[in-house]
Assembly symmetry: C2
Homo-oligomer: 202 residues x 2
């Protein structure tokens, strides 16, 4: 069994990530975090001497881990199959939570990244992990490194944008339209790589 203080720290981070996802940075107060994570008052500055910004930084990193694991759990035969399965599950999660689920990192990035260098860097690092995973998948599909990274960034942008429209409309239609467009999108940006001395022609 772990030490109690570590459990408290983990609960605080997980609670913060959930609250950021539902309501963003500014609406998430320290008292709400302490109450909802059943943490004693002194535990905030014990675990996070830097206060709210440090706790949110940890929550963004944890959310990045968790989103990356969730994305990774959908790995299938190709990037297209993986993303299709992933987007289907994201759409399901939005519907099940009445559109409260979503990307906690996006909300914080829009609210405070321009004014907090630490939180901007945390959001950016979390986004980059997800983009790197997509880029790895695309390389396995035959993209060379540069185009894989750029296509991954475009795909990730399109996913975040579709999530935003889905939340505003309270409809999963933007995600379903994106799923339908993915084959054309990935096909158009495909750049078959030359593997060693084997000359692959698209």
């Amino acid at each position: 069994m772990r030490h109690m203080p570590k459990d408290t720290r983990q609960r605080m981070v997980a609670t913060t990530a959930t609250l950021l996802q539902r309501q963003g940075y500014h609406a998430t107060g320290l008292n709400q975090i302490l109450t909802e994570s059943a943490a004693p008052k002194g535990s905030l500055y014990f675990h996070f001497p830097g206060g709210k910004e440090q706790l949110v930084e940890a929550a963004i990193a944890a959310a990045g881990d968790s989103l990356d694991r969730f994305l990774g759990a959908h790995e299938a035969g190709s990037t297209l199959e993986s993303l299709d399965a992933y987007l289907a599950d994201v759409a399901g999660a939005l519907e099940e939570t009445a559109y409260l689920a979503g990307c906690p990192i996006a909300t914080v990035a829009l609210e405070v990244a321009p004014t907090s260098a630490a939180l901007g860097a945390a959001c950016s690092a979390a986004f980059d992990r997800l983009i790197e995973r997509l880029a790895d998948w695309l390389e396995r599909d035959g993209f060379s490194a540069g185009p894989a990274r750029q296509t991954a960034q475009l795909l990730y942008s399109a996913i975040e944008g579709a999530l935003l429209l889905a939340k505003a409309r309270r409809s999963v239609e933007p995600l379903q339209v994106l799923r339908a467009q993915l084959p054309a999108l990935v096909g158009a940006l495909h750049d078959p790589v030359h593997h060693g001395d084997e000359t692959a022609v698209g």
Copy 2:
């Protein structure tokens, strides 16, 4: 000259839109709005008996108007040329404002659309105006109506996602990469329409 009360109302709406863009919904307090718009205290409930939600609803609609005019001001020979010029100016605005500029609608949509039906509808309507303009441009380029609308939605999602990455990274690179990808993206989703009895083949 307009009545003074109307000027006050317009100033409150414009100030709110600016604050939403920079810091989001929850960080934007009524006192800050009144102070920064130099509005007398009583003017809030005189012009907006529904309080903050009603004022933000008006600010989102005004931001939608303003963004739509800004997009429209970049109309050129083709959707690609128009969007390229638009994204170049958006990148310039981000750099000039140290990444405080951006889309006020996106921040509000992520923060509160799932919990406020009125604000969700306002964000959704503002997004739809921009998507409709893109769809009109694509139809003029030869897309038929259905694919034009779906491609416009994808383009708009990709733009919002690139803006999000740009703010998190404090770099315009995501917007520049998107500009470079647009021709492949629009080309891939192109569906040449049959005009009357003239059979256009792509």
